[in-house]
Each structure stands twice: as C-alpha cells, then as structure tokens.
C-alpha cells in the first residue's frame, strides 16, 4: 500500500513537472486576461492594478508624434528616471481594448522602452510606471488621421 501511494505520488509529481516545463512563458508573464479583455479604460487599469493608487508623475516622458497619419504603426518611446522600476505599461483610452502592452523590467534595466502600437482614433495615451511598488502615470493626447485597428 505504501509502495502504491509512493508510485502515485511520483506519477503525479512527474506530471506537474512536465506540464511545468511545457508552459514556462505562461508561468512567468501571467497574462492578465481581465485587464486585456476590458473595453473601458477605467476597467482595464483597475483590473491591471487592483487596489492601487495611481499618482501623476512628471518623471515619465512619452515620445510620440502629436498627429499621426497611420494609426496602424505608431512609434512610441517611454523614458523615466523613477527609481527601482518594475514595469512600464501602455494604455490607449479609445482603443477597443485600452490595455496595449506591459513590459516587466528586471533589476539592471534602464527606464526606457520603445515599440510600435496601433491606435484606432484620436486618444489619450496613458503610460504607467511601477516604481518601488507604487504606480505612477502620465498621459498625452494624439490625433490619428487613419485608424489602425482594422
């Protein structure tokens, strides 16, 4: 009986181990389905940072053109000199799903990220930075001539 239990234990343990090996990415990044599926900006940011107070900060800059021709490819740079940065997150309030992208920065990273995003219509871009466990944000408004979510 003892032997059988041991075998069962070992068998279940190895299943856990194998499934763990198959999903290393999912386990690490913890994709937040509720926040990514939200269709409203307030809903998205609340789902992403539940129970967190978000403070405006002048130590974050969003590098983006104020008027863009093609909303399908909008280059965006975020810089921040806030200390001990854990993540940078980009929201676009009028997009079908306002949560665009999150970047987790590990120790050693500089407060900088650059990427290209889609923007459907004139919107506020809201960027949050997690620094010393607190959430800071800034925003900028951009005009879009041709929407990019088609």
């Amino acid at each position: 009986m003892l032997r059988r239990d041991t075998l069962k234990y070992l068998a279940s343990g190895s299943i856990v181990l194998v499934s763990g090996l198959l999903k290393p990415l999912t386990a690490l990044a913890r994709w937040n389905d509720a926040a990514f599926s939200a269709v409203d900006f307030d809903e998205a940011i609340t789902a992403y940072f539940p129970g967190k107070e978000i403070k405006e900060s002048e130590q974050i800059t969003i590098g983006v053109h104020a008027i863009v021709e093609n909303g399908a490819v909008v280059p965006i740079k975020v810089k921040t000199d806030l200390p001990n940065i854990e993540s940078i997150t980009i929201f676009v309030d009028k997009n079908p799903n306002p949560l665009i992208a999150n970047f987790d920065l590990f120790p050693g990273c500089v407060g900088f990220i650059s990427t290209r995003i889609k923007i459907q219509q004139a919107s506020n871009i809201i960027v949050t930075v997690k620094s010393n466990g607190k959430i800071f944000s800034t925003h900028t408004f951009i005009e879009v001539h041709e929407g990019g979510c088609g």
Binding site: A72, G108, C109, V110, R116
Partner: protein, 104 residues
C-alpha cells in the same frame, strides 16, 4: 526555416541597447479579408521574454494592438561583450520562436 526574429545589441559605457524585430501578422480579429469578406481570426504575440545569460532581464505581455511585425527596444546594465542574449516569443495560437545572440 529562417528565424522570425532579428535581434541586435550594442553596448556603450556599460549600457546595452537591445533592438528586436519579429516577423508576425499581429491580426486583431477585427480585420476583414478583402478576398473572402470574412473576419481574419485574431493572431498575435502575447508574450515576449528576453534572457541575459539565462536570467530574465525583460518580459512583455502584449495585446493585439502591438503593430504588425513588432519592434521592441530596451536597455540594461551589467552585460559584457560575448554574453548570451536570448529572445523568445509566444502567440495566442501557441506558436513560438526563439533566437540567441552574443552581446556586442
């Protein structure tokens, strides 16, 4: 098959700049195919992980609103020339690709 990832680095004064371009359609699920008049199903990268000598240095959670053929750049300290840098992406259809390069 050729890699879907182009990964480049440059180190100046102890700060390594990483630049990556990934070949991927990043379909939102909202686009209508002009030939079939049907919606093209959503197909997009949702996770990207970058490791320096095996340790995660940056990881991304993405929505469908990152542009087609995603571009990504970030900077970190503490890497030496010749260190390993590995980038892996994973999409909503369980496709994945990975590339390793040596830091310059």
């Amino acid at each position: 098959m050729a890699s879907t990832i182009r990964l480049k680095t440059r180190t100046n004064d102890g700060v390594t700049t990483v630049r990556a371009i990934i070949r991927h359609p990043m379909e939102t699920g909202f686009r209508i195919d002009s030939e079939t008049s049907e919606l093209v199903p959503a197909h997009y990268i949702n996770e990207v992980i970058v490791k320096h000598n095996g340790n995660v240095v940056m990881s991304c959670d993405w929505s469908r609103a990152v542009s087609k053929n995603p571009y990504l750049s970030f900077m970190f300290k503490g890497a030496d020339t010749g260190d390993k840098l590995e980038l892996t992406w994973h999409d909503n259809k369980n496709n994945t690709d990975s590339i390793e390069t040596l830091i310059e």
